[in-house]
């Protein structure tokens, strides 16, 4: 199976050396892991990030929600896959996609004695565990479930009580309360300083934190808005779209929510809406959230039209990324090279990412199957692939 000059360079002191499977290291080139509605592709870039060689499709016809490289060994790939008609599974490659085997036990809920138990429709999100825990992976599913593997993705088990906890089940709502293709658990984050400090988010069902390795979780939703007319005190009504930790400051998280863009600086437990500074005609609704690998004040979003019936297209048919360089006090439009009009696609929550280059390379995949790249932190965009299926996820990793 099968750069131009950046607007600003990060300080050398804050620079981290990318690991074997880091997000893409200068001097080695970048590979992009592209998950789509009809299979997965790998795009291998040259050192300059100008020329791209395509490898794929892998799992042609499968719905692949996430394709992720293990940064701890630089060679293990996991793919969350299903078809439209078969049950979900996870495929695993120990050689960067040359060969694949299926997980012996994919994520699945515990069987309920009374026949009312939930079934995983698809695995949506994959997160490698802490650097000190090789082989550990976390998975988020639809409907919302949190799973863990301790053997590199071969076998998976329900992780932590949240899957069956009555409070959490209430906050998860029903399938009808979720996103159009099912409610999801996503944005599983492991604090790089502490493997027992975890976050995850649910659409819907809010953001949650554990400080005891997942034995208990608690909501982290203070300060977040909900749709008008609903009670923000009820965790059920919170819909975080994408939460990202700032690698340069793990006490800072950014969030693109159904109701705006937010930042939180721990130990504060209150999110601050930083999307209010976005242009009113664009708004601060969207799916993806990307944070600079070395500068915790810099983050990117890709707004979509969340007005009226929620078209989920670029606002006005004019797509653009927006960047903040000051932790959300102001935003700047980045649309050079993107279509100027009549481009009615958008970017899903896992489909925008950054590499570790200097300047940072940015990448996003569209709902219309285009893959776009910027070698200069978004100052100029270039389409590097067209005519792919709808893109669900893009990850940037260091080339082998």
């Amino acid at each position: 199976m099968a750069a131009g000059k950046g607007e600003r360079s990060a300080g050398a002191g804050a620079r981290r050396r990318a690991g074997r499977g880091g997000r893409g290291a200068p001097g080695r080139g970048v590979s992009l892991l592209v998950a789509t509605r009809k299979g997965a592709w790998l795009f291998h870039g040259d050192v300059a990030r100008r020329a791209w060689r395509v490898d794929g499709p892998h799992f042609h016809g499968h719905i692949v929600n996430h394709l992720v490289l293990d940064p701890r060994d630089g060679r293990t790939l996991l793919a969350a896959a299903k078809t439209g008609h078969l049950g979900p599974t996870v495929f695993r490659s120990a050689d960067r996609g040359r060969t694949w085997t299926e997980a012996a036990r994919p994520p699945a809920f515990a069987k309920a004695a009374d026949g009312t138990g939930r079934a995983v429709d698809h695995t949506f999100w994959l997160t490698p565990g802490h650097a000190s825990q090789p082989g550990v992976w976390y998975a988020g599913t639809s409907p919302q479930g949190l799973f863990r593997s301790d053997d590199g993705g071969v076998t998976w088990s329900p992780f932590s009580p949240v899957n069956e906890d009555p409070r959490y089940r209430e906050w998860m709502g029903t399938v009808q309360d979720g996103t159009p293709d099912g409610p999801k658990l996503h944005s599983i984050i492991v604090d790089p300083r502490d493997p027992a400090h975890l976050y995850f988010a649910m659409s819907g069902g809010g953001v949650h934190e554990s400080t005891d390795g997942g034995r208990t979780f608690a909501p982290l939703v203070k300060g977040l808005a909900v749709v008008e007319g609903f009670d923000p005190a009820n965790v059920t009504f919170h819909d975080p779209h994408c939460v990202r930790l700032a690698p340069a400051n793990p006490d800072r998280l950014y969030q693109q929510n159904h109701c705006g863009i937010y930042r939180i600086d721990r130990p504060s437990d209150e999110w601050v809406r930083i999307g209010a500074a976005m242009p009113k005609r664009v708004g601060d609704i969207g799916f993806p959230m990307v944070v600079h690998p070395r500068d915790a004040d810099t983050a990117w979003v890709f707004p979509m039209d969340g007005s009226t019936v929620w078209p989920r297209t670029s606002p006005g048919g004019k797509p653009a990324a927006y960047v903040t360089r000051n932790a959300g006090r102001s935003w700047r439009r980045l649309d050079a090279g993107l279509p100027r009009e009549q481009a009615w696609w958008t970017v899903k929550r896992q489909a925008m990412t950054a590499d570790a280059g200097d300047p940072v390379g940015l990448y996003f995949g569209t709902t219309s199957g285009e893959l776009w790249a910027s070698r200069d932190e978004g100052a100029r965009w270039r389409c590097i692939a067209r005519h792919l299926p709808e893109i669900y996820a893009v990850e940037a990793v260091a080339a082998q």
Binding site: G84, H85, G87, T89, E102, A103, A104, K111, A119, V120
Partner: protein, 85 residues
């Protein structure tokens, strides 16, 4: 008994007709999973419910119950219905 595998699952078996044994539909699926690991979960979810687009026919008759009894000379045909785009 002979079991017919639908094309979306041929990546597991490599051929359309395979041998499997068991005295119920569920037992035959368990045996298939021993021979072709992972194939059962693509058809049956973790609550032992048949997935939405999977159908079973025993000697030409559609059955919905995994406890449906089978004889050694029965023929089990697994069908995957298609829908969507």
């Amino acid at each position: 008994m002979n079991v017919m595998i639908p094309s979306p699952l041929l990546s597991y078996t490599g051929r359309t007709w395979v041998e499997a044994s068991g005295d119920t539909v569920g037992a035959v699926l368990d045996d298939l999973d021993r021979r072709y690991p992972g194939i059962r979960f693509r058809m049956i979810d973790e609550q032992d419910r048949v997935r939405r687009h999977i159908r079973f026919f025993v000697n030409g008759e559609q059955v919905f119950d995994l406890a449906w009894p089978l004889a050694p000379d029965d023929e089990l045909v697994i069908v995957q219905a298609l829908s969507g785009g």
